[in-house]
C-alpha cells in the first residue's frame, strides 16, 4: 500500500500565537535598559561598570546554581534574571563596594525569587528585595554618594568599590578632595531638599548630571527607554502613568498648600528613583495585579506612598519601599477588583432577587 502523500495534522488550540514569548519580552527589556546602563557608565565610569558586571554575574550565577542544585533545567536562558541584575546595579550608589553588591544580588535572587519557585511566582521584584536588604544591612555605603563625571573616572575605580570582602568600605574622602577640589556636597537632590531645603534646577535633574544611584539620575533617558517598551506593548504603561500622575498631583497639592516647605511637583517627578521605579520596577509583570482596575489602584497606591514617605518619612527616598508595599498588596488588589463575568448576576441584583422571592 502506498503511503498517502497528504498528511492530516491534528493540533489542539491555541492555533494562533502571538510572537512574544517570555524570553523575547525579557530580551527587549534588557535592550531598553542598555542606554540607561551606558549613561550610568558615562557618568560614574569604571565603578559603575564593575557594579553592573558583578550584579549581573552574581544574579545569573545564583539562579543557575540553584537550578542545577534542584536538578532542574537552568532557567537562566529566559533573561529575566539578567534584568534583575541590571536593575539592582542601577539602583545602587556608584561607590558601593562590590562585595556588598554581590551579597545583595545573591539575597535578591535567592530569597526574592528562587525560594518562591522562580520566575512567575516571585511575590516582590527580586531586584528591589536585594536593594532593601542592602539598605537594611549596609546603611552607610547605601548613602555614600559620589560626584558624576568625575575626572579620571574611566581609568581608576572609586576607592570604596574595591573594598576587600567582609571589610568596611574604604573612606572616599581623600579621593573626593582630589577629583572635586571645590568640594562636593555628598548628597542627592532629594536629600538636599529634605534636610537643607535646597532645590535643584530642573535641567540637571532631567538630563541626569546629579549625584545619585548609578542608573536613576537621568529621568528623561529612562522615560524614553520606557516609551519604547510601551509602544512595543511589552510593558504596562498604565502602571507607569498612574504612578507618575498620582505622585505629580499629590505633591502638587502639598506644594500648593505650602510652597516653602514642600518641593514642587516637577521636582518630585524627576528626582530620585521615581522614574526608574515607575518605568522598570513597578511594572514587574509577576508582582503587579492582573485586573484592569487593579492596575490603576496599584499605581495610585505606589504614587501616594512615594510622596508620603518622601515628604514625611525618615528617609529622603521612598520609591523602593513604596513599590515593595505595592507588590505585597497586589494579590489583594487583584482579588478585590475582580471584573464581573459577563452575564453573571452582581451583588445588587442578587439581593433584589432574594427580596422578591
Amino acid at each position: 500500500m502506498k503511503a498517502s502523500p497528504q498528511h492530516i495534522e491534528l493540533r489542539s488550540s491555541p492555533h494562533y500565537r502571538a510572537p512574544d514569548t517570555v524570553d523575547v519580552i525579557m530580551r527587549n527589556v534588557v535592550y531598553a535598559l542598555l542606554p540607561v546602563c551606558v549613561f550610568a557608565v558615562y557618568l560614574f565610569g569604571l565603578s559603575a561598570l564593575a557594579l553592573l558586571v558583578v550584579c549581573v554575574a552574581v544574579c545569573v550565577g545564583t539562579e543557575h546554581l540553584f537550578c542545577v542544585w534542584a536538578g532542574k533545567r537552568s532557567t537562566v536562558g529566559d533573561w529575566s534574571v539578567v534584568i534583575t541584575g541590571l536593575l539592582l546595579a542601577l539602583t545602587l550608589p556608584p561607590a558601593f563596594p562590590l562585595w556588598m553588591a554581590a551579597v545583595s544580588a545573591f539575597f535578591g535572587v535567592a530569597v526574592g525569587k528562587i525560594f518562591f519557585g522562580g520566575l512567575g511566582y516571585n511575590v516582590m521584584n527580586p531586584a528591589l528585595v536585594g536593594r532593601a536588604f542592602a539598605q537594611a544591612a549596609f546603611t552607610l555605603p547605601m548613602t555614600t554618594w559620589s560626584p558624576p563625571r568625575a575626572p579620571g573616572r574611566f581609568t581608576e575605580f572609586i576607592p570604596s568599590t574595591l573594598t576587600r570582602p567582609f571589610m568596611e568600605p574604604v573612606s572616599i574622602d581623600q579621593w573626593l578632595d582630589r577629583v572635586v577640589p571645590d568640594g562636593f556636597a555628598g548628597a542627592t537632590p532629594l536629600a538636599l531638599m529634605k534636610f537643607a531645603q535646597t532645590p535643584t534646577d530642573l535641567m540637571p535633574l532631567m538630563v541626569g548630571t546629579i549625584p545619585g544611584c548609578a542608573g536613576e539620575t537621568s529621568a528623561l533617558l529612562i522615560f524614553i527607554c520606557g516609551l519604547y517598551l510601551i509602544f512595543r506593548k511589552m510593558m504596562d504603561g498604565r502602571i507607569t502613568f498612574s504612578i507618575l500622575l498620582t505622585a505629580f498631583l499629590l505633591s502638587g497639592l502639598f506644594y500648593w498648600v505650602n510652597p516653602d516647605v514642600y518641593p514642587d511637583p516637577l521636582f518630585t517627578l524627576f528626582s530620585g528613583g521615581l522614574m526608574l521605579g515607575a518605568v522598570f520596577m513597578a511594572t514587574d509583570m509577576v508582582a503587579s495585579p492582573e485586573t484592569r482596575l487593579g492596575v490603576w489602584v496599584y499605581g495610585i497606591l505606589i504614587g501616594v506612598l512615594v510622596v508620603i514617605i518622601r515628604l514625611f518619612g525618615g528617609l529622603p527616598e521612598g520609591v523602593m519601599y513604596a513599590i515593595l508595599l505595592g507588590n505585597a498588596a497586589s494579590p489583594l488588589i487583584s482579588r478585590v477588583t475582580q471584573p464581573r463575568i459577563y452575564g453573571a448576576a452582581g451583588k445588587k441584583r442578587k439581593k433584589k432577587e432574594n427580596n422578591a422571592s
Partner: protein
C-alpha cells in the same frame, strides 16, 4: 507631626511600630491563620475587638494598681483581663458564626496568649497614654495586626500553587514572606518625624 496627637499614635501603632512586622510580636497566630484571606480578616477583627476591650480595662486597672501601689500585679491582672475579653469574643463568634468558629479553631482561644495584645497593653501603660490616646493606640495596633495578616494571607494564597522548593514549604515560606513584608515596612520608619 505632634507625637502626642491621636493621629500620630494611631499611625505609629499601625505602620511604623507595627506589632507584627516591626516588633515581631504575635507571630504564632500571624503564621497560623494567614493561609486564607477568609479566615485572616475575621481573625484581625477579633484581635481588634480584644485589643480595644483589653486597652480600656488595662487603663482602668492600672489606675487602681497605681493607687494601691501594687504595680507588681500588673502582668497577671492584664493577662486575666485579656483572657476574659477573649472569652467574650469567642462566645460571640460561636453564637453568630459557627463556621468561622470552626475555621479559626485553636487560634481563637489562643488570642489569650497572643503576646501582641499583652504587649499593646503594657506599651500603653509604659508610654503613659491618656484614655483617648490608649484607645487610638489599641485601634492602631489591632489594625496593624489585621493589615499584616491580610497582606500576608493575600501573598500566601497566591503562592498556593507555586512551584516552591521542598525546603521552603508551609511555615518556612510564611516566615520568609513575613521577613520580606517586614523589610518593606521599614520604609515607614521615622514617618511623621
Amino acid at each position: 507631626m505632634d507625637h502626642d496627637s491621636l493621629m500620630f499614635i494611631f499611625l505609629n501603632a499601625l505602620l511604623i511600630n507595627n506589632l507584627v512586622l516591626a516588633l515581631f510580636l504575635g507571630l504564632c497566630p500571624f503564621v497560623g491563620v494567614s493561609s486564607k484571606i477568609n479566615t485572616a480578616w475575621p481573625m484581625g477583627l477579633a484581635v481588634i475587638v480584644v485589643m480595644l476591650v483589653a486597652s480600656v480595662c488595662a487603663y482602668g486597672i492600672n489606675i487602681l494598681l497605681v493607687h494601691f501601689e501594687i504595680e507588681y500585679l500588673r502582668l497577671i491582672s492584664y493577662i486575666a483581663v485579656i483572657a476574659s475579653a477573649v472569652q467574650l469574643v469567642e462566645m460571640t463568634i460561636k453564637k453568630f458564626s459557627p463556621t468561622l468558629f470552626r475555621l479559626l479553631g485553636i487560634y481563637l482561644p489562643l488570642i489569650t496568649t497572643n503576646c501582641a495584645i499583652l504587649g499593646m497593653a503594657l506599651f500603653q501603660t509604659f508610654d503613659e497614654y491618656s484614655f483617648t490616646q490608649s484607645l487610638a493606640y489599641s485601634l492602631g495596633a489591632g489594625g496593624g495586626f489585621m493589615l499584616a495578616l491580610v497582606l500576608m494571607a493575600g501573598l500566601r494564597e497566591r503562592l498556593e500553587l507555586a512551584n516552591v522548593p521542598d525546603v521552603a514549604t508551609s511555615a518556612a515560606i510564611a516566615f520568609m514572606l513575613a521577613g520580606l513584608l517586614s523589610l518593606a515596612f521599614m520604609g515607614f520608619a521615622g514617618l511623621g518625624g
